[in-house]
Symmetry: C2
Subunit: 328 residues, 2 copies
């Protein structure tokens, strides 16, 4: 008998960033983080557990991938097989609706969708918290994409990672017209992977300790701002937090610099817009592209200013999105 | 009787940076710093102490300046009058051979030349160490321009600043064919003054403590590299130190960002050149322009690469220079 399940999960953007692991293998973070799940970009993954298969078969965007060079995916499926006691191989078909050109990584939505579809197909009945812990084992930020809206990923203290999970910050349906504009300046592969960049920063930056010590208070400020719907306060702590993370990276040796000239042009533009009274704040992940947080009433103005920069290749707009769910 | 003296002092570039004051009024730094005095850009200042004058007269580049809006200069002369017991006013004629377009500030050479010329004209017999303490009162970095070659400015511990002075690192005539290429991307007035930028960083950056704790070991590494003429080791610590300083600024709130898109283009270029085997390292002061440190045998290659960037307005080359001296 073939058991199959299909799930969809959306990307998220960290407002208070995750940077550095305390355990590489379990993907346990050095600090808690806070994100906003987005509504436009998602991954849909179908998992079929089939006793006939003699190996996992993985198709991403309809192309069969080599399971040896993607051993992380197989390791993730092994974990689920171990948890479920079901030893059979699976066929995994994943479609990424997260175009590289939109400036978002697909690892968060990818592992969140896979965690949900695979755990269901293997017959596991996981709570959202357990699902978040499972998704984390694939990619740290995937633990957050299990939930919709604003999401807090607890760092946790335990060495087995059982208290390092995400949760939704606002339980009820939450209406707040804030939007995220993704401004893409490059779709090239980044010069240094997040994994390596984190490791290098933790090991060599004399400023990393200061970063870690300041994150918890950023999270408290962000939660307070979200609950009070205080956009200015949220925007300020989001931008400051991103700058602190990039500052910490930049002070590693060799230096980890994800900014390019295009990144700086957008930073300068956003700061100039604020001086002119337009409330926009930026955040930047481990790459050169910039996400701008603004209120819906300002999105048009901010977008128009951005597309006038020659460095900006494309601009996409997202709102608050939903958590991962089974479909069909 | 008119007493007059004329002095020349050169600019310097900090290799290990000074960022943050522990005393604003006495200009006492939070950390020690290390610089290289340059050979091309200088200020020449003539001071004539004249009993007939009823006010200080100050001419900069042959233009009489308003002494009320330049009260720092008058305060500096008052200090020298107090030290000397000579109450007369002075005529000060200063010529800056530090073109804005060369990307260097003129405050270091300016106050070093003024300290030497004015102390001499007022009849003070100061040792180089005392002169360095005096120049510091005008501008922190001026304390370093009293000396030639590689110079160490001791932070000091005393609250009166008497142990916060510079000294030459290498006493004998020192030959090392290293050069500094100044790459100018903007000659606009900077968005935030060094004084304000320092204050904001010290008061608000959670990473500032990490910066401070790391400077002394950078200085030890730089001194060791200079004494061993180990260019790679010097270049690495110089570039890392500059990045740490800018990282610390960037993590202030509001953020202090001196980088522009042009700055980032040069940073990326220098790092690329190193991957191709050309030993070049950058350092950046509180502004968007970049100084590149390289060995004389590589200067031509580095210069050629720099002038191909459209963001680079001009390129100037300096070598090790001499300390301040009386002339004529």
């Amino acid at each position: 008998m073939i058991n199959h399940s299909k799930a969809r999960a959306y990307t998220n953007i960290a407002l208070i960033k995750y940077w550095g692991k305390r355990d590489e293998s379990l993907i346990l973070p050095m600090n808690s983080s806070l994100s906003m799940t987005l509504d436009r970009y998602f991954t849909e993954t179908e998992v079929s557990v089939d006793p006939i298969l003699s190996n996992d078969q993985i198709l991403i965007d309809q192309n069969t991938i080599d399971v040896i060079s993607h051993h992380n995916l197989v390791r993730f499926l092994n974990l689920i097989r171990e948890m479920s006691g079901n030893p059979y191989f699976a066929k995994v078909e994943s479609i990424n609706r997260v175009p590289t050109a939109a400036g978002f990584a697909s690892s968060a939505s990818g592992y969140a969708a896979l965690a949900l579809a695979a755990s269901s197909a293997y017959g596991l009945k996981l709570t959202p918290k357990e699902l978040s812990i499972l998704a984390r084992r694939g990619s740290g930020s995937a633990s957050r994409s299990i939930f919709g809206g604003f999401v807090l990923w607890h760092r946790g203290q335990l060495i087995n990672g059982e208290d390092s999970y995400s949760e939704s910050l606002i339980d009820e349906v939450y209406e707040w017209p804030i939007e995220v504009i993704s401004a893409v300046v490059s779709t090239d592969k980044k010069s240094i992977s997040s994994r390596m960049g984190m490791k290098q920063t933790v090991e060599t930056s004399p400023l990393y300790k200061g970063w870690l010590e300041s994150v918890d208070s950023d999270i408290m400020r962000a939660i307070h701002a979200i609950k009070a719907k205080d956009f200015t306060s949220l925007g300020e702590v989001v931008e400051h937090n991103a700058l602190k993370m990039h500052a910490t990276m930049m002070s590693a040796w060799p230096s980890v610099i994800y900014f390019t000239s295009g990144t700086l042009e957008i930073i300068n533009l956003v700061q100039r817009m604020r001086q002119e009274g337009i409330e926009a704040y930026f955040t930047i992940d481990a790459g050169p592209n910039v996400k701008i947080l603004c209120q819906k009433s300002d999105t048009g103005k901010v977008k128009n200013a951005l597309i006038q920069l020659s460095a900006v290749q494309s601009v996409e707009i997202c709102s608050l999105g939903k958590g991962a769910s089974l479909i069909e």
